[in-house]
Symmetry: C2
Subunit: 105 residues, 2 copies
DNA sequence: TATTCATTTCGTAAAATTACGAAACAAATG
DNA sequence: CATTTGTTTCGTAATTTTACGAAATGAATA
């Protein structure tokens, strides 16, 4: 094989994933957003709605939404000129299970 | 009363706390450490033991331990020249409950 | 008392995060 | 086709995070 200086994988995929989800939730604004989306599963949520409940600039909120999207916890459905945000159920469930397992190891 | 420019509290204590715990867990090395401590509740854990299982400098590990201590997830009992680390059970339990509630809102 | 030991703190540097307002965007509307 | 609308991206700046090796620490030991 002759692999040179194989960079050992030190963290398990689970550890990497938990860290990733945790990072997404490591800012109170993003926790707030997830709470907000979880509380309003029916009438779905526009960036502007949330901006009015948050003490941050719209552009900053947009970056937080981007972070959550990047981690896979939310998704945005375009509904011009609005963008309807909601929780990504599959990944949300995965995160829930992973954290639960983590705390019960 | 005459409070001037009261800075509104925008995030609930729960939201702040979840963000805090999440931040503590937002690096794979710190998830690894918690896993390690959870797996070795009996024969307790020295910094050096963990250092040998991690691809980071001892000083870096020490900073990660400091972070986890700051968040309240672990505690270190001095046992010169060693320091025996273990999970802070009360806060660990609290974090577990908070995340569980969070994912079930 | 000088040395050893496991560990932490310090000094430093690179990279990532958070934040804002201005500008850009893309679709619907006048 | 110019304007409006909700939202994002860009440019920028301040702060925080991550990382390392060197130096410091503090208790036990030679």
């Amino acid at each position: 094989m002759n692999k040179i200086a194989t960079p050992k994988k030190f963290y398990t995929p689970d550890q990497e994933k938990i860290a990733l989800y945790a990072k997404a939730l490591s800012h109170p604004a993003r926790v707030f957003i997830m709470d907000y989306l979880a509380k309003n599963t029916e009438r779905c949520c526009y960036s502007g709605d949330m901006a009015e409940n948050l003490p941050i600039a719209r552009s900053t909120l947009s970056e937080h939404l981007k972070e959550l999207k990047k981690a896979g916890l939310i998704q945005g459905e375009i509904n011009t000129p609005y963008i309807k945000y909601c929780i990504n159920r599959a990944n949300w469930e995965e995160a829930k299970v992973m954290f639960n397992d983590f705390f019960n190891r």
